[in-house]
Amino acid sequence: MAAQPTGEHPTNGLDETVHQRHRLGILTITSEARRAEFGYLRGALDLTPGNLSRHLTVLEDAGMVKVEKGYEGRRPRTWVSITRTGRSALAAELDALAALVRQHADAAKRAEAAAKSEAAESGDGEFSGDGGFSGDGD
């Protein structure tokens, strides 16, 4: 097996609060706007209100988003904005994921190279074996 690169493994950079795909989606959307409305998040991520609410609670408890409630006329509105902590956590998560992708790609390349060299070695063996076989035939 190829030697692991020195340094910390990228999975150590994954934050379980952020790594969940819907919470990653919430952080991504809120990082793209000053504030995102509850209804937009619900539609964009295809979540039920309760489900989205639970994910927001997890993120709010971790200090990654700020939830503000208000009214627009008689219509209640809930706005979600990302905090500095949330931005840092999102950036760290994306960095860790990118590092994992790079590591997978490197590992795949190494495995491919190893397979090729193994095939070449076994090919040499077959050649000499064939020679031996033809010799027996004679």
């Binding site: 379980e16 609060t17 790594h19 969940q20 795909r21 819907h22 990653l24 989606g25 991504t28 959307i29 793209e32 706007a33 000053r34 504030r35 995102a36 409305e37 509850f38 209804g39 937009y40 998040l41 619900r42 539609g43 964009a44 991520l45 979540l47 039920t48 209100p49 309760g50 489900n51 989205l52 609410s53 639970r54 994910h55 927001l56 609670t57 997890v58 709010e60 408890d61 939830v67 409630k69 627009e72 008689r74 219509r75 209640p76 509105r77 809930t78 706005w79 979600v80 994306l94 994921l97 990118a98 994992l100 992708v101 997978h104």
Partner: protein
Amino acid sequence: MSDGGQETGSGAAGGGGRDGRDDDDVRGSDSTAADSQRGESSASDSPGQERVHGAYPVETPEQLLGEVAAVRRKTRLARHAYWFPLVLFGLLTCASIPFYIVRLPPSGASVGSSPAGPVYLRSAYLGGFGMLTGRYITYYWLAAILLGVGATTAWYRWRGNRVGLRTAARGYLITGAVLLLLALAIPALAVRAVPRLMILMPGDLLIRGTFPLVVIGIGLCYLAWAERSIALTVIAAGYLALSLVASLYDIENVLYRLGWNLSPAVSGLPNVVLPALVLLLSGASAWAVQRRYDVRPPSLTDAEAS
């Protein structure tokens, strides 16, 4: 998750947690033991509802990064609304055309009489330096830029409420206010107190009276940053370059070489009309694209959101 968590969830986001399905969805879709690490029990789960890791499709880092990129792209498309300021400033520029029609003074009178009003309203940055432009052009551009910046900020706020995504438009308002303040203060200070500031007012750049277009271009560059739009960045950079050309060069010269011989009274108009056309055409194209994404999010009922 515990019931306690459920109460917190309803309080924080106002969404729900009213039905067991939602709770199960969140529990089940959590990728790992993030919640269990917080000491949240699964006591409310019935045995049949228990979900182990692996019951949901595990996504690779490539897939997650792809989803993030797709969500980011979709969010930006939904948030983009820059067609309005492009069209608005294009129309405001068109409305300024009468001020750029040269009215030659009667023979014997001096050319370039001082514009009316107090010195701080004769800003060279707002067209006041133009020798042959209308006397009240600084008033027009002051009002037009104030109107444009205010209406653009209100537009982004209205559309943010409609779509559910707010753009950081307050920074645009501040940028516009600062630019106008500088445009008024620098010439006044240069005349009254700090003559050295005249270095900031090169005649070559201000003499045609089209520097307000550069001010609009700087504002559009800020909007491009706030919108995180490559298309608007290209438009704003192109427009800013064109407005600088319009301030430094008589575009009429090019038209003359092409065979268009304009009368002296309207010879300055190409410097205004061309940037206005760029704004109007860009705005119309952006509108054609952006109206497809101008969709209200599904609204919650009062009961759901309370």
